[in-house]
Structure formats: C-alpha cells, structure tokens
Symmetry: C2
Subunit: 150 residues, 2 copies
Amino acid sequence: MVTRTRFDDSECPVARSVDAIGDWWSLLIVRDAFDGSRRFGEFQRSLGVAKNILTARLRTLVAGGVLESVPASDGSAYREYVLTAKGKALFPVIVALRQWGEQNFFSPGEPHSELVDRRQGQRLRPLEVLSADGRRLDPDDTTVHKLSAE
Amino acid sequence: MVTRTRFDDSECPVARSVDAIGDWWSLLIVRDAFDGSRRFGEFQRSLGVAKNILTARLRTLVAGGVLESVPASDGSAYREYVLTAKGKALFPVIVALRQWGEQNFFSPGEPHSELVDRRQGQRLRPLEVLSADGRRLDPDDTTVHKLSAE
DNA sequence: CGTCTTGGTAGCATGTTGCAACCAGCAGCG
DNA sequence: CGCTGCTGGTTGCAACATGCTACCAAGACG
C-alpha cells in the first residue's frame, strides 16, 4: 500500500494534481463519473479495465477525496461512487482533454462522443486561458514564477 | 516499440488524448516545456526522472507530434525539444491541472510556483467552461451525446 | 590531445498491470 | 428454505514497465 508521492516536485501544483489523480485509468473513471456512471459495474463495463485495478483506483480516488462512496440510491444495498466537490472541480481538466482530442485526433466528420450543453444541446465553447483583465493568453504570454520561501 | 492503444475506447476524445500523451511523465515534460525547458538535461534535472525513461518519453512525444526535435538554438550541435502547435494546444490542459492543484492541495499561504501573465505579472483567471452562448456551465449542466454511426 | 559535459544505451532488480479463477453477499423465485 | 444468477469484489501468478546504476560515444573546450 503506497502513499508515496511519485513526483516529489511538490512545489508545483501540476505535479500534485497528477499525483492525486494517480494514473490514466483514474482520469477515465472521473470522465465516466461526469458522464453519469456511478456503480462499480458501470465503470467496469465502460472502461474494460480489470476488476482488481478498478478496485484499487476507486479506492485511491475515494481516499484522495475525488470520489465518495455513498450507501445506495436505487434502494439496493450496494454502494455507489459519486464525485465530490473536489472531483467536480476537475471538470475543466476533462473538458480541456476532450477538446484537445477532438481537435487533433479526429478527421473532420469522424464521429465521436460529444459533450453538449444540456439546455440547448449545443457544443461547448473552446476553453480559453485568460489574464486577470480578460485578455486571451497564449503559452508565450505567460511565465512561471517560482517562489521557494518568503 | 509500441503503437498499441491502451484505451481502445477510441470514440472518446478524452481517451485518445490520454493515449497520445502516454503517461504522467510525458505530461510533466510538456509542463516543463511550457516553462521553457528545451534540452534533455534540463528536463532530466527538473524532473529527476531516469534517463532511459526520459529518452523513451521524449521519443513518443516527438512521434506523437507534441514535441519536435530541432537541430540547435545556441549554436551547439546538440538537439532541442520544442512544442509543436499541437503541443501548445495542450496549454488549457496544463493550466486546468495547475489551477485544480492550487485550489485543492495547498493550504492558504503555502508557497507554490505560479503561472502569471507576462505583461502584468498577475495570476490568471480561473478557467471557465462556457456554453455556445456564453453561460458558465457546471458538470450537471452538460451531457454526453454518444454518436456511433450516422 | 585530455578532460568534462551532454545525451544517451544496456542490464538487471523490482513494482505494477492484467488476466483468470475464485468467492461472498444480496436478489429473486418457487 | 434452497437454488440460481448478479454484483462487487479478492487472490495468485505471469508478463510487462519502471527505475537504478553503470557504461559509452560524440561534442565542447582548453
């Protein structure tokens, strides 16, 4: 059983996020959770992942506060896994990955699953990185400010 | 040498993105690339990753079109790894992970590296998921539209 | 040339993944 | 109750990936 941090680059928020999620499977579990999956079996069928791996990932996601294991929902005595507030906050991450994938790995017209606005059924606006005063920023417009102590 | 797709969930853009990046190290390599790293040694020192792993990851990132290996830059005969357009398009993904980490894994006041607007030195605005007509969307406001054929 | 740095490769121990088999606790049914 | 099937796991083992260390070849540099 490991709580060891793999990327001890711990002053970087990206590294901590990556560490908290655990691995790619965990990310896909979170994606499925956004899509409405809640039960062990749903995740398992949707992902095709081995059950022991799924067990371990669900456990670390629960331990990390991303998912929560709640007693029931349809009356049965089984458990369900639902996103916590912290888990829901991963929404922009999933959306960003989705948009990157759509733009780069599908030929125009090739069908793929789409994330749409529930109210209007329309596709989402592409994510934009904005400055504090609302300008659109490219990677080159930003810089990393490393602060150690003080 | 593997081109095998790990997550054959291939109709989902998230799965394809995840597959294209490869693993967490690759993501941190990309993060460092955004921060200005270009040379093998820079990545190696910054990440503390084993050199054979770094070699492999750089190679798959280049093969995947995220990085590009360019001949030089400071006159020496060595190579550098720079982000392609596709790689730069990962910017929102990195920013989203960074913001999630900042909000959830640092106690208030705890120092961490910051990504700032180069012009004004200010922190970025939190990413927002927006509908086509500009409303701010929560996860519950969206739904996944799975299209198979047609 | 001799030496240091850069950018790797090679070999091996160890850790993680994935498959398959097994199993316990409900559920439903007569 | 006893049988059967489904859900949600656990366990063992083989295969693969990771990471460490040592080594190495080709610049750079005087």
